[in-house]
């Protein structure tokens, strides 16, 4: 079971994400749609990046590209030690197992599995012998130790997102991707999730990419990348930002 184990010095030298002129065009019945139009981005291990932009700007697609869920039309995509363009669909799946955790806006829990089983899935896929114990620990970490046997339909939205977070962090990924993780939650529940997520990312020394509409949330990250119309509009650094980590601590 791999995790982010790079030493700080190595981290300085080797970015965990390197995108060069990434373009993505999709075919549709109404003609081709240019979704990403030349994205360049470099992210160091352990960094927390907030990606903001209006609806349809390409944020979620960018996240899908980083997760290896979407193939680019052109450009280079190096993520967590792999050139994603060179990997087949199944190689990408194997790569994800060990390196990437994803939190979706609509949770995407498997409805026929209990909370514990949902968290166990990525560990089982990776062949972890102690999958259940680690899943149990991850659930406890997000405060749901007593809801292990509950099915998604028996959990509140906030609880479902905490299960999804536990599932994402259980394999100790080098890269934690979150797509509007609070988009379907009320304000206080959303805050709790964000605190948990930043805390887990810090605890595991994972790189966090957070897609959000919420400027305040983005403001908690080390850098904020603004995307408009499929291009990077600006990148703002906030090196002194410690608030979420403190909250997590």
């Amino acid at each position: 079971m791999a995790s982010s184990s790079a030493t700080p010095s190595a981290v300085e030298r080797e970015p965990i994400i390197r995108l060069n002129d990434v373009q993505l065009t999709l075919a549709s019945t109404a003609g081709p749609v240019n979704i990403l139009r030349g994205i360049d981005l470099s992210v160091r291990p352990g960094e927390r990046i907030g990606i903001v932009g209006p609806s349809g700007s390409g944020k979620s697609t960018l996240l899908a590209v980083l997760a290896g869920l979407e193939r680019v039309s052109s450009g280079k995509v190096h993520v967590a030690g792999a050139d994603l363009n060179g990997l087949s669909e199944d190689r990408l799946a194997l790569w994800r197992r060990n390196r990437v955790g994803i939190v979706f806006q609509s949770f995407h829990l498997i409805p026929t599995m209990t909370a514990l089983e949902n968290v166990t899935v990525p560990l089982e896929l990776a062949g972890a012998a102690d999958a259940v114990a680690r899943a149990r620990a991850a659930l406890a970490q997000v405060g749901l130790a007593k809801r292990e046997t509950h099915y998604p339909a028996q959990l509140s939205g906030g609880e479902q997102q905490r299960v999804a977070l536990a599932r994402a962090v259980a394999p100790r990924p080098a890269l934690l991707l979150a797509d509007e993780p609070t988009g379907n939650l009320d304000g206080s529940t959303g805050h709790a999730i964000i605190d948990l997520m930043f805390g887990e990312a810090a605890r595991l020394n994972s790189t966090l990419i957070l897609i959000t509409h919420d400027e305040n949330l983005a403001g908690l990250c080390d850098r904020v990348v603004r995307i408009e119309d499929g291009k990077v509009k600006s990148i703002e650094s906030r090196p002194d930002n410690k608030a979420p980590q403190q909250a997590a601590d």
């Binding site: 999709l26 899908a64 869920l69 669909e89 799946a93 194997l94 994803i102 979706f104 026929t112 899935v121």
Partner: protein, 836 residues
């Protein structure tokens, strides 16, 4: 196993979408397993009762004569022997003065060697049949004989020149099932009383059966070998108890095969439902599959997860089918024993169940690998985007090849698992043609509908429903079309059989056949018949029996004959001689001999038999007639119209040599219904030895058989329609939610119920109509092939029957489809739109 674990977790979601999957598989498997179990229990019964069905370990049958002293010595040295003589004869009840044709059986004291005869009266058969105190000998009769003769036990019965007293009524005769087609009820008398009837004359069509109960240490096969070697010239037909009922076996094989193929059709139609169910299920699983993939599951793992699910559900459906298939024939054994005159041994037969399970598994896999592969290849990006770039590609080559191999295995199992491979092969071919054609037409309908842009909103709605992604058009057309095709074909074959028997023949067919007319009686017979009012067109033909001993110098047993003509060489066949080319014959090759020809024997042979035996004009045949080998040269080849019901012979000799051999005559005569009774009485009163077969009785008998078979076949075919309807219901259920929502939106936009209903009528009506037209055409073609190529008969097209069957299918589609629409119309739009 990770995939199994995930699969089981997934199944917790319930089996709602899989009820039809299970039903489709279960139904087809149940039919195949049920037919197989029934067939196996009959075969076991035949084997268990083989000796009593045959009447011995081995049976030797001779025509025209009993055994010679040498033959008799041979038989008796091998075990105990029972002799029976069987022939058709007229029986006359003296009290009621009624006469009827009976199947006469003269039995010796040893009869039956195996099994026992059940009589309604107490007492031993031999005792009851014996002449007592110088009085009349006894007769045991079938209950049907009492009805036809208006007689009762104690009455006197005239047979030939002798009289008998009816002493017993036969409840069950152990060796009756092996007799084949019978034209009258059984009358049994003692062998030593046969002489007095004077029915056995030279050339009389009587059969001598010698059943042997072998002495210990001698097997039936050894006995057959010795007999064939030492008594090759005897011309007896030898059967052992294991093959005592080849006719029944052959019938069972054919009927069983047909019904298994009907079951397979149901299963194939069900396969469409299976594929639809899996497709619909996996459609709903797209988010789960994409999530699993985003968590690192590979395509192979996803495929295995859902393959496990399919296998588990298939095992469930197949299990239900097997239990039902194994149980039903056993539960119904009592009722079946009443209908079938065959021994039935209820029990658990694993072979037919294994075969049914194999069919079920192959169908389940063949129809699901494709949708499973497609689902496994869902990209995780589907979590974000499903509709912008829909990926409709072929699955990977490995999956495509696997699917093709599974269908090939299914075809191979159907063909090589059957005795009649030609028939099974034809079925497989027809099934492939039907499935491919219906699929192509479905694609054609969808494409056409896409390009038609009507102004009328109802038409627009209907056409949109026909071609939108996931439309039920294909499933509907395939399931309905294939089952309707089978029904149309069966309806047409059945109407053809009826037409052959009923509609065409009575005008041409003679009223009576007369059998066993002695040459000395001919003049008197002729004047009696023609002197009876209304009798006309009397035809008489000399008749004797003989068997082909060799063809072009090759002994009969070494000749390779095409299977459909093998009967020509099997045992004795009727032969005749003639001066003129018989009516109904057409000369195809060679010359007909001159009227006054008296040279070396010449022979004219029927066309198909000539082809089967590979003979042509100028070749030499040796025919054994009454124990004497006669060599004859083929002078001509004739074509016969077998369905004319006239007297036809495969072999016709030139006059001369055969005229001098002992023989009898056959005769036919035409008579109007009003003249029949007088003619019957005139002949039967004057000539007690002549057997009279009334054509109408034969036709009634044949019609009854056709009717019974037809009912069984239609019943079986109806199962495919049920399978079709299950698939249809499944396809419609999958669409139900969409229809509800669509109906609600249309109503919210101001559409009336009539608009929505009409759109549905147009949609289902057009699919149903296309299905019906196709089924009409394909069913016609299939029926034509069955009637002309397999039954070698002339095909009569009954468009009314075909159209009624096909249109019945359209009605079924419309009713089902509209039932769904009705619910859509009844629903209030507001709640549906809120959840939209």
């Amino acid at each position: 196993m990770l995939s199994l674990r995930f699969s089981l977790r997934e199944l917790r979601g319930g089996l709602r979408g899989f009820r039809l999957f299970v039903a489709c598989l279960g139904l087809g498997v149940a039919v195949i397993a049920g037919i197989g179990t029934l067939s196996a229990s009959i075969v076991t019964g035949l084997e268990r009762d083989g000796r009593s069905l045959l009447g011995g370990d081995v049976e030797f049958r001779l025509i025209h004569r009993g055994t010679t002293a040498q033959e008799q010595t041979f038989l008796q040295s091998r075990g105990s022997v029972s002799e029976t003589v069987q022939m058709r004869a007229m029986a006359h009840a003296l009290r009621s003065d009624e006469r009827t044709l009976v199947e006469l059986k003269a039995v010796d004291a040893a009869y039956p060697l195996y099994g026992k005869i059940d009589l309604e009266q107490p007492g031993d058969l031999a005792d009851l049949l014996a002449a007592k105190d110088g009085g009349l000998p006894g007769a045991a009769v079938d209950p049907q004989a009492l009805i036809r003769l208006n007689a009762q036990p104690g009455d006197r019965l005239g047979i030939g020149e002798a009289e008998f007293e009816i002493r017993a009524v036969i409840a069950r005769e152990p060796d009756r099932a092996t007799d084949g087609l019978t034209l009258g009820p059984r009358v049994m008398i003692a062998a030593d009383a046969l002489q007095a009837t004077q029915l056995v004359q030279p050339g009389t069509l009587a059969y001598w059966h010698y059943r042997v109960k072998l002495r210990p240490g001698l097997t039936a096969a050894q006995m057959q070998d010795i007999a064939q070697k030492d008594f090759a010239a005897s011309g007896w037909r030898i059967r052992d108890w294991k093959e005592g009922s080849p006719g029944i076996r052959r019938f069972l094989d054919r009927a069983g095969l047909f019904l298994v193929l009907v079951g397979l059709t149901a299963l194939l139609i069900g396969g469409v439902g299976v594929a639809n169910a899996v497709h619909a299920h996996l459609d709903g699983k797209t988010p789960t599959i994409a999530t699993l993939k985003s968590l690192g599951a590979t395509t192979g793992l996803i495929f295995r997860v859902y393959l496990w699910q399919t296998l588990l559900l298939a095992a469930f459906g197949i299990g239900i089918g097997l239990v039902a298939g194994a149980a039903l024939p056993n539960l119904a054994a009592g009722a079946l024993a009443e209908v079938l005159p065959l021994p039935l041994v209820p029990g658990f037969y694993w072979q037919p169940l294994a075969l049914a399970a194999a069919y079920g598994l192959l169908v389940a896999l063949a129809f699901t690998i494709w949708p499973l592969a497609r689902a496994a290849e869902i990209r995780p990006a589907a979590l974000y985007r499903d509709l912008v770039a829909p990926g409709k590609r072929l699955p990977r080559p490995a999956y495509v090849i696997t699917t093709l191999l599974l269908f090939a295995a299914l075809a191979a199992l159907a063909i090589f698992g059957a005795e009649e491979r030609r028939f099974a092969g034809a079925f497989v071919f027809a099934a492939i043609v039907a499935f491919v054609l219906f699929r192509l037409i479905a694609i054609g309908i969808a494409r056409t509908a896409r390009h038609i842009r009507p102004r009328n909103v109802r038409l627009k709605l209907a056409f949109a429903s026909l071609h939108r992604p996931g439309a039920a058009t294909s499933a509907l057309l395939l399931s309905l079309g294939v089952s309707l095709t089978l029904l149309v074909a069966i309806a047409l074959v059945e109407s053809n059989l009826h037409a052959q028997v009923e509609e065409r023949l009575p005008d041409e067919a003679p009223a009576f056949f007369f059998v066993d007319i002695q040459p000395a009686q001919m003049d008197d017979f002729r004047s009696t018949v023609l002197g009876s009012a209304g009798a006309r067109d009397l035809e008489t033909v000399p008749n004797m029996r003989g068997r082909i001993a060799s063809v072009k110098g090759v002994p009969a047993e070494q000749i390779e004959v095409s299977p459909d003509q093998r009967w020509v060489l099997q045992g004795d066949r009727g032969l005749t001689y003639a001066r003129d080319l018989p009516a109904g014959s057409t000369l195809l090759a060679g010359q007909w001999w001159p009227r006054d020809y008296d040279g070396p024997p010449l022979i004219s042979i029927e066309d198909r038999a000539a082809k089967g035996l590979g003979v042509t004009v100028g070749d030499k045949l040796v025919v054994n007639v009454l124990g004497r080998d006669i060599e004859a040269e083929v002078a001509s080849i004739r074509q016969l119209d077998w369905s004319s019901f006239g007297i036809n012979f495969v072999l016709v000799f030139s006059p001369g040599l055969l005229e001098r051999a002992p023989h009898t005559f056959l005769a036919t005569v035409k008579a109007g219904p009003a003249a029949e009774l007088a003619l019957f009485r005139a002949v039967t009163q004057k000539f007690p030895n002549i057997s009279v077969v009334r054509m109408k009785d034969v036709l009634t008998e044949l019609n009854t058989i056709v009717l019974k078979l037809g009912a069984a076949v239609r019943g079986a075919a109806a199962i495919t329609l049920i399978a079709g309807l299950i698939v249809l219901a499944g396809a419609l259920a999958a669409e139900h939610r969409r229809r509800l929502k669509e109906g609600a939106i249309l109503k919210a936009l101001g559409a009336t119920r009539r608009d929505v209903i009409l759109a549905h009528v147009i949609e289902y009506g057009s699919v149903g109509l296309v299905g019906a037209v196709m089924a009409f055409g394909l069913g016609w073609a299939a029926a034509w092939a069955m009637v002309t190529l397999m039954m070698n008969a002339t095909f009569y097209f009954a468009p009314g029957v075909a159209a009624a069957t096909a249109l019945g299918g359209v009605a079924a589609t419309l009713l089902l489809g509209l039932a769904g629409a009705w619910q859509a119309l009844a629903a209030k739009p507001a709640p549906l739109l809120r959840t939209a």
